[in-house]
């Protein structure tokens, strides 16, 4: 069976699942839904696995399948590209996607949506999401990637608003969609620039063009390539929740927890990282923009981590953690270590999905409670959840041997050592973030699983471990959180095909990009591997992880609640998320949108329509005047003539009375007058 030519089936299968659910789901039983939806993703996973294995056997590790032309003006096809980068992505999406689907069959079993039968609707959306996500990562051109990009945004909107009877859910969905659209505007312009510069939007052609001699790196100036890269990055900041567009992701936690795990942790939010990695040939030519990417990544990492330190909602902590970890990925991309960004994306998918699903299991056990201040002492009650989350928390904190350690350490090392793009300042930021990460994660662990139980009796009585459909995915992901990093070990641990497996696998996608940058920059000789320094830095970051954990343990396990440091004025600032939401509401929602909208609506009715109605009024006025003129002047003249004649004829009129007697009288008077004249006059 030739899996390579069937890669188009990988996204189509979940689409079929989704179509089935949304068209006929109402008639299907839960059991059928629970088989079809996870089943379609599993089938995609198997197809992906087969295709990737066959891809590994090819000499040139790219394979394209073009179905039909989509947008002729941009030479964009419905075409799929399987290469080392997209193969990592499809395995993550289908593999972890399948586990989360299985988990969701358990989690959503008692969760009716607002309408009866929310179950099929939920899985329909979830399958639709997988379709769009796979379209995103398998597309062979930017516009098709954008189809997936917008599609996952739509599914995110639908799933955040799954409990649509809640206003907060509706608000969060809308916010996510619109904030993403802001990024999309940048992405769209970026695509046009790219098309203009390279004459194509197919990844292979764009990359070849950019790596050809036609383009040199824009080292000293901010040229058109830098602008293009920046616009694409703006798109990425929307989808991957980076400063300043991260605000939608924490609110997105209104969605059901499996959604948070799949969309808002493991897959969709990493799309921006994927897109930047996919555009590595472009970013390699634009050090100016790369600096911006690295700086934004690092700032987001520490900023979100700082908010995570004080949040009390278990899912919110994880949400800010996700924003922070995505910042790490962009830091890696920004310093030119593209494969490391993808590496962290891949390890993060395991442990963060696990943390969310674990949190879901906790919430499930706590009858829907999400506030950690009302938890505590759960470790014996829900041991599997505890055990698996324990592993994930160690992994994200960066304890050696676990997945997160290798990827995060590699990011920090590349930040320190990358020849042109590295930065010691950003390393310090990354290091502090690592410290905070360990602290907030273990604060979460201690508040949830250790200490005295703080929940009410009813909830306490009800606590139970989740069903197998939920715990088995947890265990599989825990396994992944341990071993996933082993294919990306530092070279100081020894070099062989397995230990640097991921770097070698991804090399064809990225390596040549780096060569261009290196060759172009004069002092760009390959950096000397300073092994001593690498060991030292590694030790320092392990130290940070451990001290974070112990600090959390000291404060949240040893200290009584009233003794804990309050943090002074900084605490409310962090708790209120630096007041960014309030600022945005003031500036953009109420100021620009509603204010501007109101103003323009007034302008429309008063000025423009006022003008129209004014013209109408003027016309009426004019016609009234002409009517007046007509009545008084024109008709007046006529009447005046008549009047004059009448006036002039006034005396004469009495003469013509029409009475014969009067005439006779006048006649006699006249005769008498004449006689008198002659008689008396002479």
């Amino acid at each position: 069976m030739n899996f390579l030519d069937l890669i188009w089936l990988i996204p189509i299968l979940p689409l079929c699942g989704a179509a089935l659910m949304l068209l006929f789901g109402r008639k299907l039983s839960k059991a059928v839904v629970s088989i079809i939806c996870p089943g379609s993703v599993l089938a995609s996973f198997i197809l992906s696995l087969g295709a990737v294995i066959q891809l590994a056997g090819l000499k040139e590790r790219t394979h394209q399948v073009v179905l039909f032309t989509w947008l002729p003006q941009l030479h964009a096809d419905f075409g799929y590209l399987l290469d080392p980068l997209s193969s990592v992505m499809i395995l993550v999406v289908t593999g972890i996607g399948f586990l989360i689907h299985v988990y969701a069959t358990g989690y959503m079993a008692h969760e009716h949506g607002p309408r009866h039968g929310g179950y099929y609707r939920f899985f329909g959306y979830l399958n639709l999401f997988v379709f769009f996500m796979l379209t995103l990562v398998l597309a062979n051109n930017y516009p098709l990637l954008f189809v997936g990009w917008e599609g996952v945004g739509l599914c995110s909107y639908l799933l955040i608003g799954f409990y649509f009877h809640k206003k907060s859910a509706g608000d969060a969905g809308k916010k996510a969609f619109i904030v993403n659209r802001i990024g999309d505007a940048g992405f769209i312009l970026g695509m046009f620039f790219l098309f203009q510069v390279t004459g194509s939007l197919r990844f292979t052609e764009v990359t070849d063009a950019l790596r050809s001699a036609r383009f040199g790196p824009e080292v000293t100036h901010f040229g058109i390539l830098s602008l293009t890269a920046l616009l694409l990055f703006i798109g990425a900041t929307g989808k991957s929740a980076q400063l300043p567009l991260y605000v939608w992701l924490p609110d997105a936690m209104e969605g059901p927890t499996p959604v948070s795990a799949l969309i808002h942790a493991a897959t969709m939010v990493t799309a921006g990282v994927y897109m930047c990695a996919r555009s590595n040939a472009l970013f390699a030519l634009t050090p100016e923009t790369s600096h911006i990417v690295a700086a934004v990544g690092a700032c987001t990492a520490i900023f979100a981590a700082s908010i995570g330190l004080v949040q009390n909602d278990i899912k919110r902590v994880l949400a800010y953690s996700t924003v922070s970890q995505l910042g790490y990925m962009f830091l890696a991309v920004g310093v030119g270590a593209y494969w490391v960004g993808v590496f962290h994306l891949y390890t993060h998918a395991f442990f963060k999905a696990l943390l969310f699903l674990g949190a879901g299991s906790v919430i499930h056990a706590m009858s829907g409670e999400q506030d950690m201040r009302n938890m505590g002492g759960l470790r014996n009650k829900i041991p599997i959840t505890f055990g698996t989350m324990f592993i994930a928390s160690l992994a994200i904190a960066g304890i050696p041997g676990l997945a997160g350690f290798f990827s995060k350490d590699e990011i920090l090392w590349q930040t320190w050592s990358s020849p042109e793009l590295g930065s010691k300042v950003l390393w310090v930021v990354g290091f502090l973030t690592a410290l905070m990460t360990a602290f907030y994660m273990w604060r979460l662990m201690f508040m949830t699983f250790f200490g005295e139980p703080r929940m009410d009796e009813k909830t306490k009585h009800h606590i139970h471990e989740s069903p197998k459909t939920m715990t088995i995915p947890l265990m599989v992901l825990a396994g992944g959180s341990v071993v996933a990093g082993w294919i990306g070990m530092p070279k100081v641990f020894g070099e062989n095909g397995f230990m640097q497996g991921l770097e070698h696998w991804l090399a064809p996608v990225f390596e040549s990009g780096r060569e261009v940058a290196h060759a172009a920059v004069e002092h760009g000789a390959a950096a000397q591997h300073d092994t001593t320094m690498e060991w030292v830095l590694m030790g320092v970051s392990i130290g940070a992880a451990l001290s974070g954990i112990f600090l959390a343990r000291h404060i949240y396990l040893r200290m009584k609640a009233e003794d804990r440091p309050t943090g002074g004025f900084i605490y409310p600032v962090l708790l209120n998320k630096w007041y960014v939401d309030e600022l945005y509401d003031f500036l953009f929602v109420n100021g620009l949108s509603k204010g501007g909208g109101t103003l323009m609506a007034k302008f429309d009715t008063n000025v423009i329509d006022g003008g129209v109605n004014g013209t109408a009024w003027l016309t009426r006025m004019v016609s009234r005047i002409s009517m007046w003129y007509d009545t008084w002047i024109v008709d007046g003249l006529v009447n005046l003539t008549a009047f004059t004649v009448r006036a002039l004829s006034f005396p004469v009129r009495f003469l013509q009375t029409g009475f014969l007697q009067s005439y006779a009288l006048v006649f006699i008077a006249g005769v008498l007058g004449i006689f008198g004249y002659f008689w008396w006059g002479r």
Binding site: F68, L154, G161, K166, F195, S593, G596, G597, M600, A616
Partner: protein, 504 residues
């Protein structure tokens, strides 16, 4: 049959009216049925047009020529190119759906109502196939009258104000256009000694830029009012809001396209120098962009559901005119596709409003909320209409909008940078509308127990949804059919501009 196909398409609705006139007024069902049959027949006879149209041929097809008023050089001259074919299909499909959707909605004076729609149908088709300028003008004005009555008789509370505003506004623009037409007519006589209104003949005129500019502005007033472009748009919200649902659908889906079509068929080919004149292009593009953003902003703050949709039209049509004045293949092709898309998605949005208006008789957004609980299918249909209007990929709106943006980008990057903001605000007003009407709890007692879509409403929406998806997924046939005529327009505009530059 083939050689008179266009005439058949043109007069089938009118034939329907003729029979309709002899039907007894009291037989309401019969009247409705006959109107539907006539509209369906109108749609059926237009199918051979798209099937037999040769998209690889240059120039006009299915041409019919007859003298009409020989002394004045007026001909009955009709024909179609790719642009016209798409517009005719849009008209016959939307015309049928509009009549079909009126079955339950209109309950008085059915006979006159359907007669108006059918007469209007002929007028609209005539506009899109006339290749004689005076014939065009006759059809152009012919459309005006039925719509005036549709709004004025079957409209909402402020119907008289809206109808008169609509009529006067459009008529004033039309008269200016007539002046422009007559100028061309007499200039042509001056140059050749022959009177004609034939567009192909008028295209051969050699007119200086100055005169072209005057004529351009005269045409502009006629077309810009119809589109409508900012700041000539204020008749639209009133007309849309007061018109009955089917009237709004036709108004949005077809009538507005007469304006954009006018730019494409007359302004650009007949006045290439003026159309590519820097000042004129800048003014037109700026007005388009203002329209895009302004329409979106004003939509955001509307309290009336239908008025919101009406203002969204201003925004969408801004994209269409921007594409036209990008004066390149992508811009114009995108514009024509977007005109169809706007017909589909805004048509759907008006139908969506119509469905709820029929049940509750109010358009106030604040009266609603949580409708997705009581009318789940309706919520799905509305969601699709909204997403199609907001330009979500794999639905129709995206294809047009994206291609127009590409064209605008090629013409001027600043235009694209501003126009792309419309993508953000477009999502904002639609999503907010959706949230306020569909999501949340059902707060208004009157909304509890509203019936969901019935089969007839489904039958109206389903073809539109399928059409929207098909354009979104596979727009290539549309681009193919538009390739030749658009290339011709682009060539003509740029060729003249280039010769001009060479001479200077």
């Amino acid at each position: 049959m083939q050689e008179h196909l266009l005439s058949i398409i043109l007069f089938t609705p009118l034939l329907g009216v003729l029979v309709l006139m002899f039907l007894p007024r009291s037989q309401k069902t019969l009247v409705r049925l006959w109107a539907n049959i006539s509209a369906a027949a109108g749609l059926l006879v237009s199918i051979p047009l798209i099937v037999n149209f040769n998209r690889n041929a240059d120039g006009m097809q299915f041409v019919e020529r007859m003298d009409w008023i020989p002394s004045m050089g007026v001909q009955y001259l009709i024909g179609v190119d790719g642009i016209s074919v798409l517009m005719v299909m849009l008209t016959t499909i939307m015309g049928f759906l509009a009549i079909f959707s009126s079955w339950d909605a209109v309950k008085d004076r059915e006979k006159e109502y359907y007669a108006m729609f059918l007469i209007q149908q002929t007028g609209m088709i005539g506009v899109f196939i006339s290749m004689d300028f005076l014939l065009f003008y006759v059809f152009w004005e012919m459309v005006l009258v039925p719509m005036y009555f549709i709004i004025g008789v079957w409209g909402g509370p402020r119907k008289l104000y809206a109808a008169i505003k609509f009529f006067l506004y459009t008529l004033a623009g039309g008269v200016m256009m007539l002046l422009g037409i007559l100028t061309l007519y007499f200039v042509h006589f001056g140059q050749t000694g022959r009177y004609t209104f034939e567009i192909a003949e008028l295209m051969k005129l050699n007119m200086p830029l100055g005169l072209q500019q005057w004529v351009f502005w005269a045409f502009f007033l006629g077309f810009a009012v119809k589109v409508p472009m900012f700041p000539f748009h204020t008749w639209l919200p009133d007309a849309h809001t007061e018109a009955p649902t089917a009237g709004s659908v036709i108004l949005a889906a077809v009538l507005l396209k007469m304006g954009t079509y006018g730019f494409l068929r007359f302004s650009l080919p007949l006045l290439p120098k003026a159309s590519s004149d820097h000042t004129i292009v800048t003014v037109l593009a700026t007005l388009s962009i203002i329209g895009i953003l302004y329409g979106a902003f004003v939509s955001l703050m509307q309290k009336d559901w239908k008025k919101l949709v009406a203002y969204s039209s201003v925004s969408h049509l801004g994209f269409c005119t921007l594409g036209i004045f990008a004066l390149n293949q992508a811009g114009i092709a995108g514009s024509v596709i977007q005109q169809i898309n706007h017909g589909i998605s805004t048509g759907m949005l008006f139908l969506v409003v119509g469905v709820i208006y029929e049940r509750r008789h109010t358009r106030e957004i604040s009266e609603y909320g949580g409708l997705a609980h009581v009318m789940p299918n309706y919520a799905i249909v509305f969601a699709i209409a909204m997403l199609s209007s907001a330009g979500l990929p794999l639905l129709n709106g995206f294809v047009g909008e994206f291609t127009i943006l590409q064209g605008a980008f090629d013409a001027n990057k600043t235009w694209a940078a501003f126009a792309v903001l419309g993508v953000i605000f477009g999502a904002a007003y639609l999503l907010w509308l959706y949230q306020r009407t569909m999501l949340g709890e059902v707060t208004n007692e009157k909304n509890k127990g509203l019936p969901d879509l019935n089969w007839r409403e489904w039958a109206v929406f389903l073809p539109l949804i399928l059409w929207a998806i098909s354009i979104g997924v596979y727009p290539k046939p549309y681009f193919d059919i538009l390739e030749k005529p658009v290339a011709q327009i682009v060539h003509r505009v740029h060729q003249t501009a280039n010769t001009e530059a060479a001479i200077r």
